[in-house]
Structures are given as C-alpha cells and as structure tokens.
Symmetry: D2
Subunit: 272 residues, 4 copies
C-alpha cells in the first residue's frame, strides 16, 4: 500500500461486505450455533480455533473471573450509574477502571515469561530462576503481580483454575514457574504468599498459548458482564447520586463531629 | 436498613468473603468448568441458570454479534489506541461509543414490547398492531430501530439468528411481531425493510425472557471481544497517531488543492 | 462533496496545516496570551468571541462549578484510579459518570426553553407559564431538573451565580423564568424548592446565548479539572484497590455479623 | 484514622456542607468572579493561587492547547458520537484516547527532570547533560517525547509558548534544558528536531512549578473543550454510524476492486 491513508484500515481480524461477515476466514453465520463463545474468543484474538482443551479452559476462566462482587471496577460502574450514565457510558467507566492494579493477568504473565528467559540466559532450572527472581524482587521491594489478594489472602479461584488446568492437560512450563515462585515465597518472606486469580490466569494462560495482553483482554471481556449487571442493578434499585457517606464533610478544626470522611487541606482563608 | 449510607452496597448479584465468591447463590468455583459463559451470562444478569435452549441461543448471539469488522466502536478503539491509550482505556472508549445508534438491541425490544401492549390495549391481533405501528412511525418520520442496516441493507446475521431461534423452539410472540413488522414495511414503504442484527437480538431476546437493557448488555459483552482485538492489532501493526486523511486541512479559499477533509468555518480573521 | 467518505471530516471548528492552527478563523497563536480560557470556550463552541460580560460570566461559572468535593464523578474517578487506571483512563471514567443526573445544566435549560415556548403558544406571561408547568410536573410526579440539591437543599452556588448575572447585566428572560418557577414551588409544594447550581447555569447560560448542550459541555470542561485533581490525589495518597467497606460481605443467613454492605440474593445452592 | 474504611474519603482538595463549598480553604463563592479559570486550575491542582505570571502563562497554555483540529482524541470522539453516544460518553471516549502518545506533556517533563538530575549526578552543565542524553537516546533508538510533530515537523505552538514564557519571566532551568536538547539534535541527528507543543508545555510547565502529571491534567482539561465541540458538531452535522471508507472491505483474493481498506487475514475457510 504505497499511499497509506490515516483512515485506511488494515486488519487480519475480519472483513464484511453487503452479504457476509467473515471472521478470521470463517463466515460468522457458520460459527454461530456451532462454536462456543470461549472458542470464538480464541479465534478472534489468536486467529485460530483452539484445541478442545484450550477451549474448555478458556470457558472456565471466563466464568471464573466474570464476577467478584465489589471490586474497583464494579464500584466505578455504580458511581457512574448513580450520576445518570447510560449503560454504555457506565460500563465504559468500569472498563477504564480495570487498570494495572486490577484484573492484571498480563503483568504476572510478563513476569513468568521473564523468569523463563532468565533460566535460559543464566543456565538455571526454572525452579532456581523462580527462587532468584522472588528474592530479587523482595530486595527491590517490588510487588509480585499475580500474588496475594488483599480481600482473600489465599484467593479461592486459584485452586479451582489450577486443578482444571491439570485435569485438562493444559498445565505446562508457566504453571510450573508460578508454583515454584509460590514455593519460594516461604523462604523469602517467611510465609507463603499465594498465587491469586489473575496470577493463575497469567500462568495457565501462557500454557494455553495466549500472549499477556490477550489475557488482559480475557479479563476485560468476562468482567464486562459483571459491570453490566452492577450498572443495571444500581439503576433499578437505587435512587441516583451516590457521593459520600456524609454530605457534611469534616472541617479541619472540628474533627470530632463527623463520620469517616476527612478533609485535611488548608483551613478557611480569604482572597483578601 | 434504617441508616443507609451512600457507600453501602446492596446487591443480589454476588457476595464474597475471604474464602468464597458466590454468584446468585452458586459458588463460583462450582460453576467454573461446569457451565458455559453463555449460561453464566444468563445467571449473572437474570439471576437463574437458563434452560438448555436459551443457553444455546445466548451462546449463538454472543458469537454472532462479537465481531463486525469496522463499526463506530471498533473505529473508536483504533483512534484511542493510536493516541497511546492502554487496553483498558481504549476498550472503554469503544464501549462508550456503543450508544443509542449502535448495538441497539434494547430499542427494537422496547418497540416490540410496545406493539404487544398496543395489541392488547386496542384489541388487535399482533399482526394488526405491528402494521399500525409501522404505518404510524412512517407518518411521524420516526426511524424503526432494529430495521435496515446501511452497510448490509439485508443484514446477513438476521437469517441465521431467526433460523436458530426457530430450530431451538425459542421463537415466540416477539419474533412473530418483528416478522409482522417486516412484512408490513412492504405496504408502508413500497419495499421490504429488513430486520437487522440488533433487531433480531431484540425479538429473539424477548422470547428468551431477557429484558431490553439486558440485551444491550449482551451486545456490549460480546462486542468487547472485538474491541480488545482491534486495540491490540492497532497497537501492534500501526505506528500511532491516526488523525486525518491529510494533515493539511483545506483552507476556506483554497478548496481545490486538498483531499477529502474540509473546513467550512469563518475565513482568516484577526483579534485587532 | 459528492463523494462523501465516512472518514472525511467536515468541520467549522478549526483547521491546521504544517505551519498554522486556526480556530474559528483566528490563528491559535494570536489568541494565546490575548484571550482568557473562558473566552476561548465561547469561541470554540459558539464560533465567535463573547462580549466582555458573557466572557466574565463564563469564567465565573467555570470557576464555580469546577470542584464540588465528593460527587458521583469524583467518586467514580477515585475507584477507577484505585484499580490502577492512568490519568486519562480515570478522568474518562469520571466524565462518563457525568450523566443525566449530574451536572445536568442542559436539562433545566431545555425546561426553561419549554416554559418560554409555552408562554408564547398559550398567550401567557412567563410567570403564568412557569406556574402552570411547575403544577403540571408535580401532577405527573416528574422531577424538575435544576431544582433541589440533596446535599445542600438550598445550593449555595445559586445565589452567587445569579448575583453576578444581575451585576453583569446578563440576566434576561430565562433567569426570570427560573425565578418564577422557584416562586411557584411554594404554592405547589407548600415549601420553596430552590434552583440548584446546574439550574442556575441553565438559566443564566441561556441568557448568555448558549444552547443547552453547550452548557453540559461547560460543566464537563470545568469539572474535568476536579476529576484530574481527585485522580492524582487518590494515586498519591492511597494504596490502590478500594472496593467495599468490608471484604466479608453479608451472607444471607447471617445478617447480624456485618458492616453496612448487604447481599440479598438467593441463599447458597448447588448445580446438582 | 485507625479504622480506615475503603469508602472514607481523605482529601486536601475541598470540603462541603449544606451551606458551603470550600476549595483549598477558599469559599468557592468568593473565588467565583474574582479569579480566572487558569488561576483556579493552579489552586485546585497545586493547592495555592499562582503568581500573576504563572496564572497568565497557565491561561496561555490552556488556550493554545485546547483545539488542534483532527487528532486521535477528536477522531475518537467523532466515531463514538456517530454510534449515538451522549456527550458525556463521547467526551469520555476522547479523554481515554489521550494516552501516552497524545498530549503527552508529562513524559517530556519527566525527561527534562532526568536531564537535570543527570547534570547534578555527573557534575555536568545542563547543556552537557542535555547533549549526552540526546546522544544516548539516539543510540538506544528511543523516541524523545516532546520533540517532533508528524503533522507540523516544526510545531507552530512552540515558538509562541516559549516567547510568552520569556516575556513573563517564567523561563528557567527546564526551558533551558529543552532548548539545549533541541540544539543537540543537530549534531546527533544531522538535522534539527524541534520541540513540539506538549514538549514546550513540559519545560515551561516545570519552570512554572507544576509536576509532570499536573501538566498532563492541563492538557486533558483544555482539550476536553475541543472534544465537546467535535462531539456536538458531529451530532449536529452528520447522520451517525461512521465506520469505514467502504462498507465492502477487500476480500483476500480480490485486492483490485476496492478502496483503501484492506483485509489480510486468512482466506475463506470452513469449520468442516
């Protein structure tokens, strides 16, 4: 394309004309009714249909991660909805809130990949590399993405996802690396720090052949279901305009009289 | 709850504690690996697991509507990504773009419900009410949501979705009303105006027991898959900063020299 | 443009080429340092520079409405930021939350315009039309947009904005209509229901020559300042991952043990 | 606060009660009509009113950067609006698109700060450190944020902003560092690579006392004005549903027949 225009789309995902919509080479009407949404997820993002095992594991993760009661994104959606946002706007707000600290399967995946590369570069076993990386992150006071969950400590989703991954024969090198890192935390921190839900997505996802950002996409897609549900419930059950626990926020000099909210900026002053 | 606080969540969707995440009464780990994402969609939004037929039909719609090549939301995602937006921000932009003219299964569903109510109120058959409503909307020059698709004229998705709905025994009153409205367009407009994809979601969705806004949610959830794919592809294949087909926009007095972009505001002027 | 392309921009707002950026006919570099941002707001949205009075009143509103401590949009921004959203994503979430119940200067403006049209159509004085409309909305149990503020009852911003509008000679027909509606509430509701901040933006804004949606834009633009401040403060002061007041949400059968959050969906059940 | 709750707001920005809204210690009604929006920008984000010079320079930047015709964010807004997004949703989409490659005043600011630190650490003059950093970035094939603009090559906004900064006496160390880096590009690249608009915001902004992320906020706030204008114009002038330059996208085997859009994924295939 010699004369490329900013508005020319070049894509390998899909094309359409008046009569057909074709996704990665398949007519969408042939896919419809014949593959699962999880298989379609793999097709759209990775370009090929998955093996049956990877399809089932994808489905399991989409179900497991869709809903988590109150989290930053569901709270975001509820406040946006309380301001009168339509469903699309409210869900957009929630998706925007799925930042680097939330649903962060891509970051543990990047870390697991780095452990693997480290093993190769330094001629270590994966277990040795895992232990080294955990110790070094501790030393640099870096948080290990994909480990620990403040609300659960030991995230209940991990056991189920790893069990299924083992059962389906999906488990490979990266689940091994994640487990080795978890083991290494005992020595390094003096207590076990558990793989959390997104962390298990990260290692199982790599063993399924997904790239890190495709795992973030997996989280966004399934969690958008939760965001829709919370927005609709908020719009239906509540009266609008959530804001703070008390409308009278604390004045600096009168801290005793108030609820949990707290202002600690400058005291009253005047332009003159 | 006598002392309701703005930050107290009241929800019937899910709860969690340190050890469990429970969705609509089911432990999420029991659901994982045992139900499809489509069934989970129904559970989270409607509170109960679907019948097998409704589960299969939900899955079919989620696959059918996930990807449509270039549409307003995929273009939105691509421009946002070209500005350097992270995946969550770019997908949020795209979801925000799924407004009342895009993926609008809720609006045809509302219209089909209104036709049904009209039939009851006026003692008409559904076919009679459908014909009346089409004629009246024409007279008021109101667009019929869920009918006609500028890119397809006859949207190819409709035939597949209605065929599956018939096969699965999902088809009921609202598919009938939609078909009656389509039939009525021939008389009213002098040519057939076809049910489009979101329109078929609207009528089949009502026959599946979904409420209109839950159908909008269904579109948002499956289309978010497409939005992720377009964002990742844009970030991978393109160089950033899409803007206009030509950086030199047309000056008012020199319309001849330019590409498709066009400025038609005031000519050059000065503050002095 | 006979062969209009979906990606051809037609705009009267601005053009640029390699050497210049021109907004509504003025070179942006000439505007820079010579007009206020408030005047620029008027120029960009309305196409012409404002009178000095309208410029000063625009500036006053932009200052008055920029910050309101905790509101739905600032809370939205804080939750999105707590999920690790970058500044652009977090502010996007907050802007999405400025829906029809929040910063809603456009809706009172539409109502004031409708009162004016009603007066003309029915040969009433504006005061008579205002009283009629208030009574009719009450009867239909419709909320009057731009009146009442749950956190203030009598919104303190209104007095200042109307005072300035009077001083600057901006006050005209629509401030009169708003005041007449406020007066009418005493008869209709048995107590005075006060014009709130967005309501005063609505009537003063119309008297300044703005269209309703341009007033919504005015709110979005100035409130985006607050949204930036709350996002940056949240990212700086807090540790991330806000979610709920208690991580252990209430189980259905154990309502006594918990904080304010509350689950009232189905009790525990199983797939089998 | 010993028993900190996730929903307790702690803030130094503002507080309110039934009768007052107080921003950084000032009653918002006293500020209204008495300070400019630019001064308010400084107050809200930095906690104090600016000097007159910093206030004027802030105003100049807010005017200079508000509108840039077609850019990634204005295009994002237009596509979202074409999907029927309300103003808040469409502007949210545009703000989400102001990512790390767009309006990126924070990234050049970080780079200028790093040059300053480098000078101190290595006992170099700022000019020496600037030259070293430019050379090293070239060697690492790293792009210099804040330099070069694909649409302008030499961004016209830079000259105006630096001229004003000099006139107002704002210019200090960081404008010096930016100019030294620009000078150094001649040696390193064999041609001058010019400071662009966001780059000049970055260096002038640091000399005004802003932190990098506060400069990103400055861009977001003023550019939100443009986003509102483009959304309203799109909704008013266009018919909705922009998508691609041609609805019939290119099939893989028939590249000759089509417009600029291009599909290069797998050729037609079937599930069976």
């Amino acid at each position: 394309m010699t004369d490329k225009k900013p508005f020319a789309w070049e894509t390998a995902i899909a094309w359409k004309n008046k009569d057909r919509i074709v996704v990665r080479g398949y007519d969408v009407n042939e896919l419809t009714g014949n593959i699962s949404f999880a298989e379609h997820f793999h097709l759209v993002l990775r370009g090929e249909l998955p093996t049956p095992e990877v399809g089932r594991m994808t489905e399991a993760i989409l179900v497991n991660m869709a809903e988590h009661a109150m989290s930053p994104s569901s709270a975001t959606v509820r406040f946006a909805t309380s301001g009168g946002a339509e469903l699309n706007a409210a869900v957009a707000a929630g998706v925007a809130g799925i930042g680097r600290l939330h649903g962060t399967a891509d970051r543990p995946a990047e870390m697991f990949l780095a452990v693997g590369e480290r093993a190769e570069r330094d001629g270590l076993s994966d277990r040795e590399a895992a232990a080294k990386v955990v110790a070094e992150m501790r030393e640099r006071r870096e948080r290990m993405p994909g480990f620990h969950h403040a609300q659960h400590i030991r995230d209940p989703r991990t056991a189920r996802l790893l069990e299924l991954s083992d059962e389906l024969g999906v488990t490979g090198r990266y689940v091994g690396i994640a487990r080795a890192m978890e083991d290494a935390t005992e020595d390094v921190f003096g207590r076990r720090i558990w793989i959390n839900g997104p962390g298990s997505m990260g290692c199982v996802g790599l063993d399924m052949g997904y790239e890190p950002l495709q795992l973030k996409a997996m989280f966004i897609v399934c969690r958008s279901l939760s965001l829709c549900a919370h927005s609709i419930e908020e719009a239906t059950r509540e009266k609008g305009w959530r804001a703070s626990t008390n409308s009278d926020m604390v004045q600096p000099l009168d801290l005793s009289m108030q609820g949990p909210d707290h202002y600690d900026g400058p005291a009253d002053r005047s332009l003159t």
